[in-house]
C-alpha cells in the first residue's frame, strides 16, 4: 500500500540508474542513515555501542570487502583474516614509525598495504579456481599469521608480541568515548559501502560478475581475466584492510595475531554466504546475523532468569547458532539479502496479492 512506485516516472537514464530507483527506498535509507548518525549515538548505551554496534559495523565492512571478491568475482578466499591483519599491523606501524601521521591516513595506508598483499596472493587465481584457490589463499592466512608472530620488526620489537594503540584523534577531535568511536566507524563504513556499491554497479563490477559467471565466455567477449581478477583482489583487500585497521584501532585497542586467525576468515566467509553472495546489503545482514545472534543467545537465559551455567549456555549457543545457519541456508540458499528482496516484492502488492 505504501511501498509502491506508481507515479514515479523516470525521465532520464540517470534517474533510472540510481542505487535506489524507488522513492520510498531512498527516503527510508536516508532516514536510517540520519537515525544512525544522530539518534543512535545519543540514545544507545555504552555497552550497546562498544560491544555490539562497533564490531557489527567493522565486520560488515570486512564482509563488504570479501563479498566483492567472493560474491561478485567468484574467487573463494580464506585469507580474509590475513588481509585484515595486514591492514591493522601496517596502519599501526605507520603510526608508530611516523609519529604525527593523521589517523585516517594511517588507516588508508594500512588498506593500501593490504591491497599489495592481496594482489600478490591473488596471482594464483589466474591459474587455479574454486576450492583449489581457497586452499591457495589459505597460504596467505598462515604466512601472515607466521609473519606477525615471528618477525619482531612488525610489532616494533614489543616483547610480548602484542601491540597497542595510543589515544586516537582524527581531524583534531578526540576518539575516546564510545559515541565518538561509533561515529568515526560509521562514517568510514558509510563511505566505503557507497564506494563498493558504486563499483559493483559500474563497468568494473560487470567485468567481475562476467568472470564469476563464466570466465571463458568473459574472456571471449573481451574482458581481461587478469585485470578483472586482480582488481577484485585489490579492491577487496583494500576494504578488508581498512576494516582490519578499524578492528585493531577502534574495537580492540590492543591485539595479537590471534585476533585475525583462521577463525576470523571463516567467520567472514560465513557472513558473506549467509548474508547473500553478490550483495552489498547482504554483507550487512550476514554481519548482523553472526555478531548479534551469539550475543543475543548468550543473554537469553539471563533475560528469562534461567539459572544456566555459562558453559552450558556457550554450548547451547553453538548448537542453536549452527542450527540457524543450516535453517537459513535451506530456507533461502541465496542468503538473507534474497529474503529481503522477496519481502519487498510481497510488500509491493500488499494488501491485495492478486
Amino acid at each position: 500500500m505504501f511501498y509502491r512506485e506508481n507515479g514515479q516516472f523516470k525521465t532520464s537514464y540517470r534517474a533510472d540508474q540510481q542505487i535506489f530507483p524507488v522513492r520510498q527506498d531512498r527516503v527510508f535509507m536516508l532516514a536510517l542513515l540520519a537515525a544512525a548518525f544522530v539518534l543512535v549515538p545519543w540514545l544507545a548505551t555504552d555497552y550497546f555501542l562498544r560491544a555490539i554496534l562497533i564490531p557489527f559495523l567493522i565486520l560488515s565492512l570486512a564482509a563488504v570487502g570479501l563479498n566483492i571478491l567472493v560474491g561478485y568475482c567468484g574467487q573463494i578466499s580464506l585469507g580474509t583474516g590475513a588481509f585484515m591483519a595486514v591492514g591493522a599491523y601496517a596502519a599501526w606501524n605507520f603510526g608508530v614509525r611516523l609519529p604525527g601521521m593523521p589517523l585516517v591516513l594511517q588507516i588508508l595506508l594500512g588498506g593500501a598495504c593490504a591491497t599489495v598483499v592481496g594482489v600478490v596472493f591473488g596471482i594464483p587465481s589466474l591459474r587455479i579456481r574454486g576450492l583449489y584457490l581457497a586452499v591457495a589463499t589459505l597460504a596467505a592466512q598462515f604466512f601472515v599469521d607466521w609473519a606477525f608472530l615471528r618477525v619482531a620488526y612488525f610489532t616494533n620489537y614489543s616483547p610480548s608480541g602484542s601491540v597497542s594503540v595510543p589515544p586516537l584523534t582524527a581531524f583534531g577531535l578526540p576518539i575516546q568515548t564510545s559515541a565518538q568511536k561509533y561515529l568515526f566507524v560509521l562514517a568510514l563504513v558509510t563511505v566505503f559501502s557507497l564506494l563498493a556499491k558504486n563499483l559493483v554497479r559500474a563497468a568494473i563490477g560487470r567485468q567481475w560478475m562476467a568472470i564469476r559467471d563464466m570466465d571463458v565466455a568473459a574472456a571471449v567477449i573481451g574482458i581481461r581475466p587478469m585485470y578483472a581478477k586482480l582488481t577484485a583482489f585489490a579492491v577487496s583487500s583494500f576494504i578488508v584492510g581498512v576494516a582490519g585497521a578499524l578492528w585493531g584501532y577502534i574495537h580492540l585497542g590492543s591485539w595479537e595475531p590471534l585476533a585475525f586467525d583462521l577463525g576470523r576468515s571463516f567467520q567472514l566467509l560465513f557472513m558473506v554466504i549467509i548474508g547473500g553472495l553478490g550483495s552489498i546489503l547482504g554483507s550487512f545482514f550476514g554481519a548482523a546475523f553472526i555478531v548479534l545472534v551469539p550475543v543475543a543467545l548468550a543473554n537469553i537465559p539471563g533475560w528469562f532468569g534461567l539459572p544456566l551455567s555459562v558453559d552450558t549456555a556457550a554450548h547451547i549457543e553453538h548448537m542453536v547458532f549452527g542450527a540457524l545457519i543450516v535453517f537459513f541456508l535451506i530456507a533461502e540458499p541465496h542468503g538473507l539479502a534474497r529474503l529481503w528482496s522477496i519481502a519487498k516484492e510481497k510488500l509491493r502488492i500488499w494488501p491485495f496479492p492478486h
Partner: protein, 440 residues
C-alpha cells in the same frame, strides 16, 4: 534499504540491554564480574579456576553474610579465551551494580585489550600471576594489579631453582635452557627476563614457540631432541600441557628437567598421565599446592549444602581451584580494605575498590583467620608496588599428587626492578601518560 534488520535488532537488543541494566541494585550489594573460559582449548585450566573464584564468593556470602554485611553479587561471562569476546564481556559487566569491583580476565590477551579501556573507565584489573609484567609499577599502571607475582618473577624463580640444582648461579654458565611457549602474549612474556638472565648468568637460551592451541608439537620436540637442552621451561596452558608431557616422553626427555609455569601445573594437567608425568616440576604462586582451613569452611558452608560450583566437586583442592579462591579472596579483601576507609557496610565504587587493592595489607594473622595461612605469605601493596610480595615454591608430580620440593623463593629485585621501571616508562611514553607521584 540497507540496515533495517539492524534497526529491528537494535531496538530489541536495546530494550534487552535496558532490562539488564535495570536489575535491582539494592543498597548493600557489591558486584564482582567473573570472566571465565569453560569452553575451548583452555577449558581444562579454566574450569577449576572459574569454580574456585565463584566458590569463594559463595563462601563469603554463606559464612560471613557478605563483606561486613554487604552481599556479593556476581555474574559469570564466557570468553572462550578469545580477546574480542572478552572485550564484549568487559563492556557488558563493567557498569553492573554501580560499577564492577575488578576484572580478573584470566587471559593475558584480554588483559592487554582491557588495560587501556579500564584506565578510562576507572575499573581495576586484577591479574594474579599473569598479565603485563611491567604493570607492577603502580605509578604508571594505576588500575592494574598483578598481585603476588608475574611471569618475570616466575621465570626468575625457575632459574634460581635450576641454579640450586646445579649447585650455584655460577654453574649455569654454558648450560642450555629451552623455553617452550604458547605463541601468544602469554607465552612471550617471560622472554625479556630470561634473555637478561641468560646474559648475566651465561647460559644459552633456546626459544621454541608452539602455535596455538598447542596440540601439534612434534617439530618442537624434535628440535629439543636435537639440541638437548639441560632444562626446559614450559609456558603452556590447557591442552598444550599434557601434549607437551607426552611428547617429552616420546622424545625421551626427562620430565624432572621440565619446569612449568603455574598455569601448566595443576592436577588437571597431569592426572590422566599419571606415571608418565612423574617428576614433572611446576612453580606455584606462593604455596598454592597447600591446603588450608578455608577448605573446611568451603566444604561445610558451600559444598555440604549442595551449592558448590563444580558439579562433582572433584576440582576442589586442586592447585588451579586454590588459585581461583586466592584471586577472589584478594578481590574481597580489597573491597574490605576500601570499606575500612570509606565506610563499612556500604557498596564501594570501583575507585574505592582500587584504593583497597593499592592498600592491601594481609598479615599472617589475617591470612590465618581467612584460612589461607598455609597457602600464602603476607602481602602488602602500595602505590609504587602493585604486585605486593612475590613468593613461589616448586612442586613436583610424584605420579599421584604434587609434592612441594623446594623452599620459598623470591625473585631477584635487583634484576627485575630496573626492567619493570624501564618497560613501564616506555609504556607511559607510548601512551602519552604522565606517571603519578608515589610517596616514598
Amino acid at each position: 534499504m540497507k540496515r533495517s534488520t539492524l534497526k529491528l535488532a537494535a531496538a530489541s537488543l536495546a530494550a534487552a540491554g535496558a532490562l539488564g541494566a535495570a536489575l535491582p541494585a539494592a543498597a548493600a550489594e557489591q558486584f564482582i564480574p567473573l570472566l571465565a573460559y569453560r569452553t575451548g582449548s583452555f577449558a581444562p585450566l579454566g574450569i577449576p579456576w572459574a569454580d574456585g573464584k565463584m566458590d569463594y564468593l559463595k563462601l563469603v556470602n554463606e559464612r560471613d553474610g557478605g563483606i561486613n554485611g554487604v552481599q556479593i553479587v556476581y555474574e559469570e561471562c564466557e570468553t572462550a579465551y578469545a580477546t574480542d569476546r572478552g572485550v564484549e564481556c568487559y563492556e557488558r559487566l563493567k557498569t553492573r551494580g554501580g560499577g564492577a569491583s575488578g576484572f580478573d580476565t584470566q587471559s593475558t590477551g584480554i588483559t592487554f585489550a582491557v588495560t587501556d579501556k579500564a584506565m578510562q573507565d576507572k575499573i581495576s584489573v586484577e591479574t594474579m600471576g599473569y598479565g603485563l609484567s611491567q604493570s607492577v609499577d603502580g605509578s604508571v599502571f594505576e588500575w592494574n594489579f598483578p598481585l603476588l607475582g608475574t611471569y618475570w618473577t616466575a621465570a626468575d624463580v625457575m632459574i634460581q631453582d635450576i641454579a640450586k640444582q646445579e649447585g650455584g648461579m655460577d654453574k649455569l654458565k654454558g648450560k642450555k635452557i629451552a623455553l617452550i611457549y604458547h605463541d601468544s602474549p602469554y607465552g612471550k612474556e617471560p622472554i625479556p627476563l630470561l634473555q637478561k638472565r641468560a646474559g648475566k648468568n651465561g647460559f644459552e637460551l633456546l626459544l621454541y614457540p608452539v602455535t596455538a592451541p598447542g596440540v601439534e608439537q612434534k617439530s618442537t620436540w624434535l628440535q629439543v631432541r636435537q639440541s638437548r637442552p639441560d632444562y626446559v621451561l614450559l609456558w603452556s596452558a590447557g591442552i598444550m600441557t599434557p601434549t607437551a608431557i607426552r611428547e617429552a616422553q616420546a622424545t625421551g626427555y626427562p620430565r624432572d628437567k621440565i619446569y612449568a609455569i603455574w598455569w601448566a601445573g595443576s592436577e588437571g594437567d597431569v592426572k590422566d598421565l599419571g606415571a608418565v608425568a612423574k617428576g614433572y616440576k611446576a612453580i606455584t604462586i606462593h604455596n598454592s599446592a597447600a591446603h588450608g582451613k578455608v577448605y573446611d569452611d568451603l566444604k561445610k558452608h558451600v559444598y555440604d549444602k549442595g551449592q558448590g560450583t563444580g558439579k562433582s566437586g572433584d576440582s576442589v583442592g586442586t592447585i588451579a581451584h586454590t588459585r581461583g579462591m586466592m584471586i577472589s579472596m584478594l578481590q574481597v579483601e580489597a573491597i574490605r580494605a576500601a570499606q575500612e576507609k570509606y565506610g563499612k557496610g556500604k557498596t564501594m565504587t570501583p575507585e574505592q575498590v582500587r584504593w583497597g587493592f593499592e592498600n592491601l595489607n594481609l598479615t599472617q594473622e589475617r591470612l590465618d583467620q581467612l584460612g589461607f595461612g598455609e597457602i600464602m605469605r603476607p602481602v602488602k601493596t602500595s602505590c609504587a608496588n602493585h604486585m605486593g610480595d612475590d613468593w613461589a615454591r616448586i612442586v613436583q608430580w610424584d605420579g599421584a599428587k604434587f609434592q612441594v620440593v623446594s623452599d620459598w623463593y623470591q625473585s631477584d629485585k635487583s634484576l627485575l626492578d630496573p626492567m619493570v621501571r624501564e618497560a613501564a616508562a616506555k609504556y607511559a611514553k607510548d601512551k602519552n601518560l604522565t606517571p603519578r607521584k608515589c610517596e616514598g
